[in-house]
Structure formats: structure tokens, C-alpha cells
Amino acid sequence: MSIIVNHVSYSYNPGTPMESKALKDINIVINDGEFLGLIGHTGSGKSTLVQHLNGLIKPTSGEIYYNGKDISDSDFSLKKLRGDVGLVFQYPEHQLFGEDVFSDVCFGPLNKGLSKKDAELKAFAALKQVGIEDEYFYQSPFDLSGGQKRRVAIAGVLAMEPDVLVLDEPTAGLDPAGRDEILEILNNIRKERGCSIVLVSHSMEDVADHADRIVVMNKGSIIFDDVPREVFKHARELDEIGLSVPEVTKAMVRLRKEGFDVDTDVINISEAVETISKCFGI
């Protein structure tokens, strides 16, 4: 179930003075079961790129292959693709419309052509997975808290049981606890369902811990595509484009400078604890 993005370019408003090139010759492969972090500054083209993955935007040039088939072929079913590649937009809670939480989550599976009963089963499982309790099922989605709304909206896509789950800044505007909650949920989803996850973010912290691979974008181009540890070695280049390495990596680099013998290629707290303990011989 892989997605191949082959030499894709995209311009907004082509042929007018407002023309802007959002993507320039993008090549990525998204493998089965992979957790991919897509990082970039505001306006780097990451949101535009993910909308290509389920055919919402057609590339100006280049092709996208899903399981070896070109998605712009006339006999390719975009409707099926959108069930297979689930896309959660930025601030997904702004798209809730149902009279109650449960019927809103059922919208996706029903569109997929499932029977009412099957759709409800999937909605139930999805809501459970994002940690929404039964007591909220028949409340209006507009009465929930911000974090709950977002989880319901994610459940709305999850209920379609996609093979690839793409999330555009799912942690934007949440407090640290809400952020950790969402990231934890994503990790569980991946473990339990075995689907690939593409997580779009502008924060390295979001992806450092969970992602298998990080793709860094700047001004519509990909500049790094590697495992997190390798990407974070480019601290200076990342800094120049307004991104930064995780705080713990920064702290280790600083300690090294001050003369402590610690590893600088750590990417999370537990690794940092390990190398600091080693340095002090504990």
C-alpha cells in the first residue's frame, strides 16, 4: 500500500499575477506501515502536498501512484482513494456538522457505501480509539471542548479505516497535554491497525519521538529526507529555514560545548538521561 510522488509540481493561480509556485519537483515514497513526519515552516507547501495524496488537488505536472496505479488515470476511482488515504485537515473540528457526535463520525463510512450497522460499528471503534467516552456520543459536537472536538474529527476520518492516515498539523493550537494525547493516540492507531501515518507539523518535537523518517520541506522543495537522527545533525541548516532541532538535542549540544562528554545525537528524553548518566558514571 505505498504512495509514490513522482516529480510533482503545483502552482496556485497559474497565469495571473497572483501565481505562486507551491511545490517544485517533489519526489517522495511513503511505504507500508511507515510513520512519516513532514516538517516545514508556514508556507513551505506541506499542506498543499498532502492534499495531492488523496487527489483533492491535481498536480500541475508530475504523477502520483497509489499501489502502482496513477491516480490521475480516468478509470481510477478517486472516491475509493479517499477512503484508503484518510486526510485530516488542519483544525478538523471546524468541519463538524452532525446533530450528535456519533452521526458525524458515521458520515465517512456511510459515504464509503457501508450499511448503517457496519458504519455504526466502525464509528464506535474509532471513537473508542481516540478516547471519547460513551456519554458524549449523543451530545452535539459543538458542546465539546476544543481537544475533544478535534479527537471526534479525527475519529470521523479513522472510521473509514484508511490504509494511510494523513494528518495536517493535528496538534496546532492545543496545550502540551492535548498535544501528547493526540500523539499517543496516533501511535496506538498505528500499532493496532498497522496503517501508515503521515504527520505534518512545523514542530520537530511532535515527530522526533514517533516518526521513522522525517521529510523537511522549505519553499516548495524537499531539503532533507532521512531518519530523525540524521536529519537533526543538520541543526544549523534547520535553524536557517526557521525550524529547529528538539530542545533535548539542543541541550546536549550545549552540554558538549561546556565540556561534558555526552552524545549529541539524542532525539528524546530517555536517550538524554542515558547519555548523561553515562557521562557521570552512574
Binding site: 493561480n13 488523496n54 483533492l56 486526510l87 485537515f89 471546524h94 456538522f97 465517512g108 476520518v157
Partner: protein
Amino acid sequence: MLRDITLGQYYPVESPIHRLDPRVKLFGTLIFLVSLFITDNFIGYIPAMIFLIIAIRLSKVPLKYIVKGMRAIVFLLILSVVCNLFLSQGEVIWSFRKLNITKEGIRTAGFMAIRLSFLIVGSSIMTLTTTPNNLTDGMEKGLGFLKVIKVPVHEIAMMMSIALRFIPILTEEADKIMKAQMARGAEFESKSLVKKVKSLVPVLVPLFVSAFRRANDLAMAMEARCYRGGDGRTKMKPLKYKKNDAMAYLAIFMYLSVIIAVRIIF
């Protein structure tokens, strides 16, 4: 999708028309619209067309862009042509069962088609070359004399500029919501009308919610900056007439006299 609506969207280029005072453009547009209704024969449309072509040329907005915006009214245009063609009384030249095409019908149909398209092109040149802010500034200043009879000119202008400002925001929002629902398998291109209307519910509900949220936020932000209406408010960039504006007024009056002359002579 919705981005294709260009009718009334500002087109950012440098041109003599763009630099004109908004009051001149408002006045010019008004005169142009009036002139279209003064004219009662085809000859009168020749100066109107020349005026329009000169304005388009000077504005540096590509004709293609203007025509693209016209697509929204094609249906209206066809409807008016068809109605005029078949429903006018007069000398019959072709008939099919109960439908008659008359000589007068052809004339009115052509007349209305030209009038309608000139109307749209004329007014879209104004909005294409003037930012919404400038436009309402011009309106506020130009209609300032109405304050004497207690018309809340500033408030009306403010409401207009907010409404205009929200058009692109809300179309963008609608576009985003439509895409998000499409990502959940929604389809908007249904043949049956009932299904089509039903399919809009998942777009309209979030759109209304978002409009209310934005209105609320805006009101709060204005309140926080002590906005309390037009009395005693000054402008950062007050409108001032320049030499070009005088020339434009001259051109507008000349155009109007030509139109009146044509009407009297022919």
C-alpha cells in the same frame, strides 16, 4: 473550485486606473451605468464600447481575466436573451407551434445582451482596480453629504467593507470545508436536485458556525480597540484629489455629453 469566482476580486497591478481616486471611479461607474439606460439604440453603444475598451486598456487587467468573471452571469444572460426573443410582440418572422420569434424580439434580445454584459464588465472594472478598503473609503467620503439628513454613512461604509473583506475569507473557508468533506467521501456532483441540496448540509453547517465565530471575534477585537462609530474618527490616509482625477472627471463628462447627444440626434 470556488477560487474561480473572479467577479469583483481586486486585481493587483500598477495602472493609471488603479491610481485614480476611488470617488472618481465610483462616479464614473455610476455615469457609465446611467448612460447604458439613457441609450435607446445600437449607435449609442458605440461610444459606450469605446469608453469601456479605453478603460480596460488603461487598467492593464487582462481581458481574459474579466471574461472569466463573466462566466457567473452566462446563465442570466442566456435567460434574458431567450425570454426577450420569444416573448416580444411584433412582426413574426419565424414561428414554431406557439413560440414566435419577432423582429422586435431579436432587437430587444440583442439590446439586452449588450446592456447586461456592459453593465457587468463596467462595474467589475471598478472592483478589479480598487481595493475594497479604498472603495468604501471613497463611498464614505463621496456620500458624506448625506450625514446632514442623519444617514449613518460611516456605519454603512464600515458594514460594507467588512462584508467585502469577508467574501474571500468565507469562499476560502467553504473551499476548505468542501475539500475536508470530500476527503470523507462526500460528493457534490449529484444529478438529483434533492441529493445535491442534501449534500450541501455538511458544508453549510460548518460554514455558518465559522461565520458566527469570526463575526464574534471581530466584534470583540473592535470593542477591545475602543471602536465606537464614525464620530471624530480620522483617517491614516485621507483621500485627496490629484491632477489625474480632474482629467478623469473631464473624460467622464465628455462621455456623458456624447451619449446624450447621440440619444437626441438619432
